[in-house]
C-alpha cells in the first residue's frame, strides 16, 4: 500500500538528494585542492626556492642538499609550464594522492608521512572522542533528569572543573602522576622504542598501553563539554509538551528518558559529534606533543617548525576532505534520525 510514497513515508531518501549531496562533497574537495594550489603561487617569487632559503636561514634543513631539493621540486611542479597546465597537473596529482615530497624528510613522499601518522591519530583521537561523547552525553542527560540518584550529581563538579583545564595541562598532570610517579604507564611515544609497527598482538597491546594516558587526557578534558551541552538540551526537551504527554500516558520512566527525552536531545549532539570526528584527522596537537605521540598532530607541529610546506598542505587537504566526508555522512544519516529534515533545496 503505497499511496503517494514520498509524502507518506518520511524516511524514503530520494536518489537525487544523495547524488546532489555526494556531488557537493566533491566540489568541496576540489575547492580545497584549488586553494592548496593557489596559496603557494600567490606569494611573490618562486615559492619553492623561497621556502627552502627560509629554511636554510633558520638552519632547519641541516644536512639536506638544497639544490637537489629545488631541482626535484622544479621538476615535480613543472614551474616553467603555463599556469593552467600546472593546475591540471596538480589536480591530477591530487586525485592520485600525490602531494609531493616532504622537505624535512626528503625524499619521503608526503602521502607516506600522512599514512604513517594517520592510523595513530585516528585510533587515539577518534576512540577518545567517541568514548567522551557517549559517557559525556549520557552523564549530561542524567544530570538533567529528575529521577537521577544523588551520587551522580556529586560527580558533576569535579568533572565539569576538569573541562575547564586545558587538556595539555591535564596531560602533563596525568603523565606526572601515573607515568612518572607510579610508573604504571610509559612516559610517552606511541610504542616501545625499537619495535616496528605491525598487526601482532604484542605490538597492539603495547600501542594500547602507550595510548591510555593521552586518551584519558582527551576524554577527561572533553567529557565536560559533551555533558554540559547535553544537560542543556535535556532541560529544554523536558519542558516540551511531548515529554509531559509521555508521562501522562503512563509510560515507564526509562522509555520516557530514552525514547522521548534523550532521543530528541541527542539530535544537536550528533551534529557536533560529526564535526568533531571530521576534525579528528588534525590530531590533538597539544596532547600528541606532550606525549610524543607519532600522530598527525605531532607531524603538523614538526612540519610547521621546519617550514615543511608540502606536508602542511597535505594535512590541510586531509582535514578538509575529512570534514567534508563527516558532513556528507551526517547529511545522509540525519534524515533517518530526524524525520523533519527536508530533502528539498530551499
Amino acid at each position: 500500500m503505497r499511496t503517494n510514497g514520498r509524502n507518506l513515508q518520511g524516511l524514503e531518501m530520494p536518489i537525487e538528494y544523495v547524488v546532489r549531496r555526494v556531488g557537493l562533497f566533491f566540489v568541496i574537495v576540489w575547492a580545497a585542492a584549488t586553494v592548496n594550489f593557489l596559496i603557494p603561487r600567490l606569494a611573490p617569487g618562486n615559492p619553492i626556492r623561497e621556502q627552502l632559503l627560509q629554511q636554510v636561514a633558520t638552519g632547519g634543513a641541516g644536512a639536506t642538499p638544497i639544490e637537489e631539493v629545488v631541482q626535484a621540486y622544479e621538476a615535480r611542479f613543472g614551474l616553467d609550464l603555463p599556469l593552467w597546465l600546472q593546475y591540471f597537473n596538480f589536480l591530477w596529482d591530487t586525485v592520485r594522492f600525490d602531494f609531493g615530497v616532504s622537505i624535512a624528510r626528503f625524499p619521503t613522499p608526503v602521502w607516506d608521512t600522512l599514512t604513517y601518522a594517520l592510523p595513530w591519530t585516528i585510533s587515539l583521537v577518534a576512540t577518545a572522542t567517541i568514548i567522551a561523547f557517549v559517557i559525556g552525553s549520557l552523564f549530561g542527560a542524567l544530570l538533567a533528569w529528575p529521577r537521577t540518584p544523588r551520587f551522580v550529581h556529586a560527580v558533576a563538579p569535579p568533572l565539569l572543573t576538569m573541562a575547564a583545564v586545558p587538556y595539555y595541562l591535564l596531560g602533563l598532570i596525568l603523565m606526572y602522576v601515573f607515568a612518572f610517579r607510579f610508573g604504571w604507564f610509559p612516559l610517552g611515544g606511541g610504542h616501545q622504542l625499537g619495535t616496528e609497527p605491525s598487526f601482532t598482538m604484542t605490538f597492539m597491546l603495547d600501542a594500547a598501553r602507550h595510548s591510555v594516558l593521552p586518551a584519558l587526557s582527551l576524554i577527561l578534558a572533553t567529557l565536560g563539554f559533551w555533558a554540559l551541552q547535553m544537560r542543556g538540551m535535556m532541560v529544554t526537551v523536558q519542558g516540551e509538551d511531548y515529554v509531559t504527554l509521555a508521562e501522562a500516558k503512563g509510560l515507564r520512566p526509562s522509555r520516557i528518558f530514552f525514547r522521548y527525552a534523550l532521543r530528541n536531545a541527542m539530535l544537536p549532539q550528533i551534529t557536533a559529534l560529526a564535526l568533531t570526528l571530521g576534525h579528528v584527522v588534525s590530531g590533538a596537537v597539544l596532547v600528541e606533543i606532550v606525549y610524543g605521540y607519532p600522530g598527525i598532530g605531532t607531524l603538523l607541529f614538526r612540519s610547521v617548525q621546519n617550514f615543511d610546506y608540502p606536508v602542511i598542505y597535505g594535512i590541510t587537504f586531509l582535514i578538509i576532505v575529512a570534514i567534508g566526508l563527516a558532513t556528507l555522512i551526517l547529511d545522509l544519516v540525519l534524515p533517518f534520525l530526524d524525520p523533519r529534515i527536508k530533502y528539498s533545496r530551499e
Binding site: M1, T3, N7, L8, Q9, G10, P146, E240, D241, Y242, T244, L245, A246, E247, A248, K249, G250, L251, R252, R255, R259, Y260, R263, N264, L267, L337, D338, P339, R340
Partner: protein, 347 residues
C-alpha cells in the same frame, strides 16, 4: 498540507448541550478533590497556585473549569495526575478516584492510573507529539507500558479503529507529527487519551493553539468520544463563551480557588458570585458588538494571598467580613456552589 479529516462533526455538533446529570444521592462521584493545595517553591517564597480547592466530578459529567491565566487551572490538571514538577509540590489535600486516594499511591501504581483511568489531552496541540516517532508507535507504546500486547496485525487494526474514531484516516498511523495539521495532531492526542477507555479525561485548553473552526471540531470530537465512552471530562479553558456551549457544569476559578460552580444555564441566567457576574457581563453580547468590558483591578499575588476573599479588592459589593474571612465553597442554592459571603445558605 492535505487534511485527512473525515467530516463527521456536523451531526454531533448540535447535541452538545444535552442532559445535565442530576447529582442524586445514589450516584457517587468518580473524582473528588478535597482541600487541595499546590505550591511552587521560589526564592521569594511559595507561590500558592492552588489554595484549598474542592470539587466533585460525577460519572459521565462534563465539567468546565474557566478562569483567567494564572488562576491555577493547569496546576490543578497536573496535580490530578500527580505530575507536578519541582519546584512545585502538592502540599496537602485528597484526590479520590472512585474513592481511592491517588495521593497515597506509590509512583508505580500512579503510573498505571495515568491514561488507563485518568487521561490527559494537553495544552499545546502543536508540540504534544514526539517529533521523531510515527503516530502508530506513539499510540502503541502506551499500551505496551500498561502491560497490553497485541499481535502486529491486531495492533494495526486497533490503531486504525482509534484513528477513525476521532475522525482521522487510518493511514495517518504511518506519518510523523510534522506531517499533520494542528487539528489532526490534537485528534491524535485525543485518540491516545481514549485508547485505554479512561473514566476521566482532563483536557487542558485543548484548542488553545487552533483556529476557531478547528476549535469547534475538536471540542465536538471530544464530546462525541466522551458520549461513546461514558467518561467524565474536565474541560479547562479561559474562553467562557466557548465553554458555555460545551459543558454541563462550569467552575469559575479565581486565584487558585473555585469561586462558583454551577450548571451552565443557571450560571448564565443568574450569576451569583460577583466575579462570575463580571466575567459574564464582560462577554461581548450581540447588541453591543465587540464591547469588551474588562474587570477593574488586578489578580492578587499568590505569594502572599490576602487573608479574606481573594476577590475582595475588586469586588464592588465587598463587606467588612470579606477582607478577613475566606468564604467557603458551599451549596448556596440547589446545585449551585458559591464561595461568597454575600449569600447565606439556602437563601
Amino acid at each position: 498540507m492535505r487534511d485527512t479529516t473525515v467530516d463527521t462533526e456536523q451531526t454531533h455538533a448540535e447535541g452538545v448541550l444535552d442532559s445535565t446529570v442530576e447529582p442524586s444521592s445514589d450516584v457517587k462521584p468518580i473524582l473528588e478533590v478535597r482541600n487541595l493545595h499546590v505550591s511552587y517553591d521560589t526564592v521569594r517564597g511559595p507561590i500558592q497556585a492552588v489554595r484549598g480547592l474542592s470539587f466533585q466530578l460525577m460519572p459521565n459529567e462534563v465539567l468546565g473549569l474557566a478562569g483567567e491565566s494564572g488562576s491555577g487551572k493547569s496546576t490543578l490538571a497536573l496535580a490530578l495526575l500527580r505530575m507536578i514538577k519541582s519546584p512545585g509540590r502538592i502540599v496537602e489535600g485528597e484526590v479520590l478516584l472512585d474513592g481511592r486516594d491517588l495521593l497515597s499511591l506509590s509512583e508505580r501504581e500512579m503510573r498505571h492510573v495515568r491514561l488507563a483511568d485518568i487521561a490527559m489531552v494537553a495544552q499545546g496541540a502543536m508540540n504534544s507529539l514526539n517529533p521523531v516517532m510515527r503516530i502508530r508507535d506513539q499510540i502503541i507504546d502506551a499500551w505496551t507500558d500498561h502491560g497490553i500486547r497485541y499481535g502486529r496485525q491486531e495492533s494495526e487494526e486497533r490503531v486504525a479503529d482509534l484513528l477513525r474514531w476521532v475522525g482521522l484516516r487510518p493511514d495517518v498511523a504511518r506519518l510523523y507529527p510534522h506531517e499533520l495539521s494542528g487539528g489532526m495532531k490534537q485528534r491524535v492526542v485525543i485518540a491516545i487519551a481514549i485508547s485505554l477507555r479512561p473514566r476521566v479525561i482532563i483536557a487542558d485548553e485543548p484548542t488553545s493553539a487552533l483556529d476557531v473552526v478547528v476549535q469547534r471540531q475538536i471540542i465536538s470530537t471530544l464530546r462525541r468520544v466522551q458520549t461513546d465512552l461514558q467518561a467524565a471530562v474536565i474541560l479547562i479553558g479561559h474562553d467562557i463563551g466557548l465553554m458555555a456551549q460545551s459543558v454541563q457544569k462550569l467552575g469559575i476559578m479565581y486565584a487558585g480557588k473555585v469561586a462558583e460552580m454551577s450548571p451552565v444555564y443557571e450560571m448564565f441566567d443568574e450569576p451569583m458570585h460577583p466575579y462570575t457576574r463580571m466575567l459574564i457581563d464582560s462577554l461581548p453580547s450581540p447588541d453591543q458588538k465587540g464591547q469588551l468590558r474588562g474587570i477593574p483591578g488586578i489578580t492578587p499575588s499568590l505569594l502572599d494571598p490576602p487573608p479574606g476573599c481573594a476577590f475582595n479588592d475588586r469586588c464592588p459589593y465587598a463587606l467588612e467580613r470579606c477582607t478577613t474571612e475566606i468564604p467557603a465553597l458551599e451549596e448556596k442554592r440547589p446545585n449551585r456552589m458559591v464561595a461568597c459571603h454575600l449569600f447565606t445558605e439556602g437563601q
